[in-house]
Symmetry: C2
C-alpha cells in the first residue's frame, strides 16, 4: 500500500491510465515500456514513471510494465475492482443517455433504477432498467444497496432530493445539476457542470483568436 | 488588460464565479463584499481576493465588488460576451439532451443543427433545431459560420468526423467520445469523459470507506 499522500493531480490522471491499460489488455498486450506508453498517451515518459512510481513496484528497468498487473492495481485504487450500484434521478434525455451507456456497466457501475415525477415516464424501462416514481425513492433506497446517485434534474429540485439521498445512506453523488450541493463530509460529490465546461472551451478559443490577431499585427 | 499569465487553476474557477455573479445580478444585487461572496461560494475571502485581483481594479476596499461590472468582465474574459454557433454530432439521447439545454443558449452557445447517420432521425427536429444528414456536414460548415462542435458519437467514428471538422475550420471541439483526439494546435478541445468522472467518484468513495474502517479499528 504505497498510495498514501498521492496528489490530486495524479489521482485525476489515473482514470486515463486505466482507460489505456484496459485497451492494451483487451488487445492482448502483456508488457509495455514507459516510452511506448508515453507515445500512446502523449505524455512524457518521465511523467509516466513519476506517476506510476507512486504505487511502487510496477515497473522494472528495461522490462516495462506488466499491463494486467498495473491495470488491476489502478482499478483497485480507483475502487472499480468491484461493482457499484447506481440510480439515476431524472429520466429525461440526459438520464436516458446515462442509462443507455453500457460502458458504465463494463466499468462496474450498475444502474438499478431511474426515478422521475412524470406519470408518462414512470413504469417505462430503459435498456430493461425500470423508471420508478420519485415518491418511492426512499423506500427503494431502504430496500436496495445503492452507493451512487446521478442527479440529472433541475437545480430547483436538486437539494431536496439530495437530502433524502443522504438520509438513506447514499455514498456518492454524481451531480449534473447546476448548483453546488450541501452535503455532509462523508458523502462525496463529483459535479459535471456542462455549461462551465463550454465556457472553458470558449475561453480557450478566445485565447487562440487573440494570439492569432497579435501575430497578424 | 491585466489578464496575461493567469494560471489555469484561476481560469478553471472563472465559470463558477460567472455563475454566481449571474445569479446575483438576476436577483438585483449591485455590490457584494468578498466576505459575502466567500460565504455564498464556500471559498475563502482571501482566495476570492487573490483570484479577482488578477483582473485588476474590480474590488474597492470596504465597498465590495460591483456585481454587474465583474460579471461583464469575467464574461468577456471567458469569451461569453458574444454568441458562439455550435453543432452537435450525433442525435442520440445525449445529443438530444444537449440540444434541449436552453441554458447553453442563455450563455450564448447557440446550436444550429444536429448531425446523424440514422435515416429515422434525419429530418426530425429537437426544440426546432434540425437533425441533418452527416453526409451534409461539410457543405453545412462551408455555408454556416460554426465555431464549436459537440461530439457525442462512438469513439470508432470520432476521429474521421473530427478531421472533417478541422478541415472546415472548426475552432473548438467539445468531446464526449472516449478517446483523445488528434488535433492541430489552433483547434481547442474540451473533453468530458463521463466514465473517468465516475471513477474519480468511486476513488473518493473508497477513500472515505478506508478512513472509516481505520477509525473503527
Amino acid at each position: 500500500m504505497a498510495e498514501k499522500g498521492i496528489s490530486n493531480a495524479v489521482i485525476k490522471r489515473l482514470p486515463r491510465y486505466q482507460r489505456y491499460l484496459s485497451e492494451l489488455k483487451n488487445a492482448g498486450v502483456e508488457r509495455i515500456s514507459s516510452g511506448d506508453l508515453s507515445r500512446l498517451m502523449n505524455v512524457t515518459a518521465s511523467q509516466i514513471r513519476q506517476d506510476l512510481n507512486h504505487f511502487g513496484g510496477f515497473g522494472q528497468q528495461g522490462y516495462g510494465y506488466n499491463v494486467e498487473y498495473l491495470f488491476n492495481e489502478i482499478s483497485r485504487i480507483l475502487g472499480v475492482d468491484r461493482d457499484h450500484n447506481m440510480i439515476i434521478i431524472g429520466a429525461g434525455h440526459f438520464g436516458h443517455a446515462l442509462a443507455n451507456y453500457e460502458r458504465f456497466e463494463q466499468k462496474g457501475f450498475v444502474t438499478k433504477a431511474l426515478f422521475d415525477i412524470d406519470p408518462d415516464r414512470i413504469g417505462q424501462t430503459v435498456r430493461g432498467i425500470p423508471i420508478l416514481d420519485m415518491k418511492d425513492l426512499r423506500s427503494f433506497l431502504m430496500e436496495n444497496s445503492i452507493e451512487i446517485a446521478a442527479l440529472t434534474i433541475p437545480k430547483t429540485d436538486a437539494q431536496a432530493i439530495v437530502d433524502i439521498l443522504v438520509e438513506c445512506g447514499i455514498k456518492g453523488i454524481w451531480n449534473f445539476a447546476h448548483l453546488d450541493l450541501k452535503l455532509p463530509d462523508d458523502v462525496v460529490v463529483e459535479s459535471v457542470h456542462l455549461s462551465e465546461s463550454l465556457m472553458e472551451l470558449s475561453y480557450r478559443i478566445s485565447e487562440i483568436e487573440k494570439q492569432k490577431s497579435e501575430e497578424d499585427q
